[in-house]
Amino acid sequence: MVAQLIPLQGLAIPTPVLVLVLGGVLAPFMGLLAKRSRFMLREFWAIFVTALSLYSVYQLYLQLEASAGHVLVVSSWGQNPPFSGCFEVDMLGVFMAGSITFLGVLVAIYSTSYMERETRLTEFYTLFLFLLAGLVGVTMAGDFFTLFIFWELMSISSYVLVAFLKQNWGPLEAGFKYFVMSATGSAFLLFSMAFLYGMVGSLNFASFAVAFPNMDITPWTVILFAFLLVGFGVKAAVFPLHTWLPDAHPEAPSPVSALLSGVVIETGLYGLTRVLFLVFDPGFFKLPIAVLAFLTMTVANLTALRQKDLKRLLAYSSIAQIGYMLVGLAAGTAYGVMGLLLHIFNHSLMKGVAFLSAGSLIHHAETRDIDELKGIGRTMPLTSFTLMVAMLGLGGIPPLNGFISKFILFNSAIGTGLIWLTVAGVLNSTLSMGYYLIVIRNLLATPEENHGVHEAPLPMLVITLFMVVLIIVFGVWPQPAIQVADKAALGLVEDVAEYISAIFTP
């Protein structure tokens, strides 16, 4: 059904996307005003816009719950869906958009005090809002080319945000390497769009779901699968294409690192999940994705053991977590996809806390080396506590929320006969606790000199403590998140008929 989400004449774009895009367009004006007045106008505008978008995602969720088929199609100017760009909002899109905007609000509040010594802050907050707009647009797109437009919006914002502190060499090299690999991935994505158009006749996701079950598997579908895997896999950091991530995540400013690890790579994984489930049937991609999951997990965990830089270790840990999520994708059932979505939400919280509190430690100590950060637990007790809880959660210790989503992921792999993958996953989880415990031991050691307690500034401290409370709460009582993730996974895997009928029978 076609819904008008904003009561403006002819203009219907999902409200979160509109709010974030308009916020990004108006942010330079706020920056000009902020130069005249002493007030921190740019930061408050960013926090206000992200909070408004979180509220509108919640409203969209309520509207979806109330409507019959749980799918809303939004397209403006009276365009007809199979050949025009449209937004198709279903539970999966709302779940991902909720994760993205939630992390966005928290990171916006954190970066008010982290970035206060930097220059070019107007451009930072503008690009921050455009990054969030691109991410929410990707998750709500119903047409492949609309997804590509928002994909490019997200990509160009993230290239410049990675290379933001351009006075040192590290961010520039990391930003350029990330740029070349990610632009190549976009070209592969455009190629796969050409093949899909040639086979199906339109670029709408619902037409893929209608057309592909009737077509046989030719060598061209295998080539299409390979190009899609490369196109989305560069952004999602699967095994051979992950080499940009260990350079880009440490060199970015810490709030941007938290966003990148927390939501940007998961949006690449969302794109892969959406297209693979609509185009191919799960038996086709079970084995290749299982092999990629195994390689991603193992290579990332083994390389992380050798790291001496705190943020680089966290970056390799992100790649390993993407490997765990690919296990859920390889299972191919709604239970596996539910584990994937739940782990996306939990990982965004845990990795967000890890990068933000690591950023607080680095902001105070001016070094990223793990050996030099020895004993900082005595100087900054609360921040070290948050980093410890985040790392225990990433390793999968029971009362925290990482345990539940990993349990669901590995359980779903057993259900479809990939027992070797479950064994490998559990061994990898144990291996990852190895390098987390090295960091925790260094945090708790006694320092050489006693500097006294010198905590992080108030916004950074409050945000990390709040996220740690959420980690513990969702670990003990995960039911709300599991229910929403379950509805989202069912909407993707089982109820494809709802998705198709929303476009083809208005």
């Binding site: 990509s155 520039l172 090299e173 990391a174 350029f176 632009a183 190549t184 769009m193």
Partner: protein
């Protein structure tokens, strides 16, 4: 059966492979950007080849996609060039083999 589309696809794949080998072999930053541009061009050509498949008719859908894709690629390359200009301003050389300092 060799149709006209098959022959054009051979050349499109060839251009795609040229773009990939340009990315792996060249060491100057601007040449890497040109390699990315060659890849985007090959993808656009694939759309155009599909647009003129039926003889006597023209399919308007891929042509509109190409018009929008060219704009998007252009803005991506512009951002890349801004990063390259910064690198040259700070370090004077554009050779990526001499400037690779982040290891392992």
């Amino acid at each position: 059966m060799t149709t006209q589309l098959s022959v054009v696809l051979v050349f499109i794949f060839l251009q795609f492979l040229i773009g990939l080998s340009c990315l792996t072999v060249k060491r100057d930053m601007v040449r890497l950007l040109i390699g990315v541009e060659i890849l985007f061009n090959a993808a656009n050509l694939c759309f155009i080849a599909l647009s003129s498949n039926v003889t006597g008719f023209v399919d308007p859908f891929p042509q509109t996609i190409v018009m929008m894709a060219i704009v998007l690629d252009g803005s991506v390359i512009a951002v890349g060039l801004a990063i390259v200009i910064n690198a040259y301003k700070h370090y004077g050389t554009l050779d990526i083999r001499r400037l690779m300092r982040l290891k392992w």
